[in-house]
């Protein structure tokens, strides 16, 4: 049973937001909504400043509060541990939006919760998610965290990395290579 994950190389990501655009086009996301985003956090005061650029999306957590807070079972685990929303079950109660420490969800024009799916429709055909295949600096690596021979597992074994908000305790599966 695979467990899909992602690593994003902070040394090569330049914050161009091509991933944001590719995701919108691939998934036909609503005009004023986004499944992924690029954040730029600047810390400190001049001249001692530091800029961090992160390409962020649903972390497909292994202990996902959106899944266990969903009152109807609409938010669920699909193959490879990918968290999906079954639109036919979603009431738009927004418990999952409130439960997600990563603020990875939004309500789409049909009134149901929407989020990154790791482009599960592409993954099932053996393709990479749209953001990964688009990334012009090849900063994103997608793969199976359970497969020791995958590029993802090898790079996570070799490089120092971290997840976002590990203190939220949700076991995120998106990692950032430092």
């Amino acid at each position: 049973m695979p467990r899909y994950g992602m690593a994003i190389d902070l040394r090569t990501c330049m914050g161009c937001a091509a991933c944001v655009v590719a995701c919108k086009v691939e998934n036909r996301v609503d005009e004023d909504a986004f499944r992924c985003r690029v954040t730029q956090r600047s810390r400190g005061e001049f001249p001692n400043v530091h800029l961090e650029i992160l390409s962020e999306r649903c972390n497909q957590c292994s202990d996902a509060p959106c899944v266990w807070n969903c009152p109807t079972g609409a938010s669920h685990y699909a193959d490879g541990g990918i968290v999906l929303v079954d639109e036919s079950r979603c009431t738009g109660c927004k418990a999952c939006l409130a439960a997600c420490p990563y603020d990875a969800r939004f309500i789409n024009g049909r009134g149901v919760a929407e989020k990154c799916t790791f482009c599960v429709h592409r993954v099932r055909e053996g393709l990479e998610p749209a953001c990964v295949s688009t990334c012009p600096s090849r900063a994103m690596i997608f793969g199976d965290l359970e497969d020791p021979s995958s590029q993802l597992v090898r790079v996570l074994g070799a490089r120092k990395h971290r997840a976002l908000k590990p203190e939220a305790g949700t076991k995120p599966n998106v990692f950032y290579l430092e």
Binding site: G15, R43, E45, N69, P71, T72, A95
Partner: protein, 310 residues
């Protein structure tokens, strides 16, 4: 801490700059759910404790009759909040043991018929003489029905707090004290509504004195709630600061603490000493305070987050 500035490409209105998904509908629902819970617990307790002839009209039949009405208005507000209303029936095709909202949906399904049965029993036995359908004859199992409503009312009251308390992503809400706090607030709001309705002086005084104690308990729980946040980690302390210098300071201390709790307690004490006449002001202020507490907690909780940006 170093100041942090954030720029985002790809903002969603629901989550940037802070979560903004729940508004007046949820605050009103949590308040009315708590109020209905308070009415059921207090009236159910009185029906078990006292002979029917000794009960005043508020505890005797008005409270039981109003509880399902109040609950219906609250549930309608909850329904208005759903973005995909056609799927509302999906709450009842499954039970998700880890989802507080699923518990709430099923508790409501149990409370609703139980409170209607209680209203029927109380009305037919203790309703105003001369009203149609009022027999005055003992209603079968009235005391058992009352006891059932105490238990279900308490579950409803605690659930309104646990709904928010289970959301670990929002440090302000993520407290086990929110359940008892909302229960105490719902009970005090229920007692206040009963004080407004009660016509017999003796019962009104007793209900008012019960309400003072409930407000005291609510105050203690609020204090513990803030203490738990203030002694927590950075995200918890930032959540507490929303009320101590942050954007919710004025509305919390003026609307909830002073107008909704301290002022009615003070007025009630003056009234007891015979220094002011009895008016509807203290119970109305207590009801206002209950609604303000839900609104402030619902709004401020959405502004509290793990990542503390300055």
């Amino acid at each position: 801490m170093m100041p942090v500035d954030i720029e985002v490409a790809g903002r969603n209105a629901e989550t940037f700059p802070v979560l903004h998904v729940w508004g007046w509908e949820i605050a009103l629902y949590l308040f009315l759910g708590g109020l209905a819970a308070g009415l059921l617990v207090l009236a159910g307790w009185a029906h078990r404790r006292y002979e029917p002839a000794r009960l005043g009209p508020a505890l005797g039949w008005m409270g039981p009759l109003l509880a399902p009405v109040v609950l219906s208005i609250g549930m309608f507000a909850l329904f208005l909040d759903l973005e995909n209303k056609w799927n509302v029936w999906r709450f009842y095709t499954t039970f998700r043991v880890a989802a507080p909202m699923s518990w709430g949906a099923w508790i409501l399904i149990l409370v609703y018929p139980a409170s209607l049965l209680f209203a029927w029993a109380a009305w037919s036995e203790l309703g105003p003489a001369g009203a149609r359908l009022v027999t005055g004859a003992p209603f079968p199992l009235r005391r058992t029905i009352a006891g059932l409503n105490v238990a279900l009312g308490a579950a409803l009251g605690v659930y309104t707090g646990i709904l928010l308390g289970a959301l670990g992503a929002r440090p302000l809400w993520n407290s086990p004290l929110l359940g008892p706090l909302f229960l105490a607030s719902g009970l005090s709001a229920g007692a206040a509504l009963l004080v407004l309705l009660e016509k017999e002086d003796e019962w009104r005084r007793r209900l008012a004195s019960i309400d003072l104690r409930l407000l005291g308990a609510e105050g203690v729980l609020l204090g513990l709630f803030f203490l738990a946040l203030a002694t927590g980690g950075q995200a918890q302390r930032a959540a507490a600061e929303l009320f101590f210098g942050g954007p919710y300071t004025a509305v919390f201390w003026v609307a909830v603490a002073f107008t909704g709790m301290l002022l009615p307690v003070w007025l009630e004490r003056l009234e007891r000493r015979g220094m002011v006449a009895h008016t509807a002001v203290p119970p109305v202020l207590i009801l206002f305070g209950g609604l303000a507490l839900r609104a402030v907690i619902v709004l401020a909780g959405q502004a509290s987050q793990w990542e503390v940006l300055l």
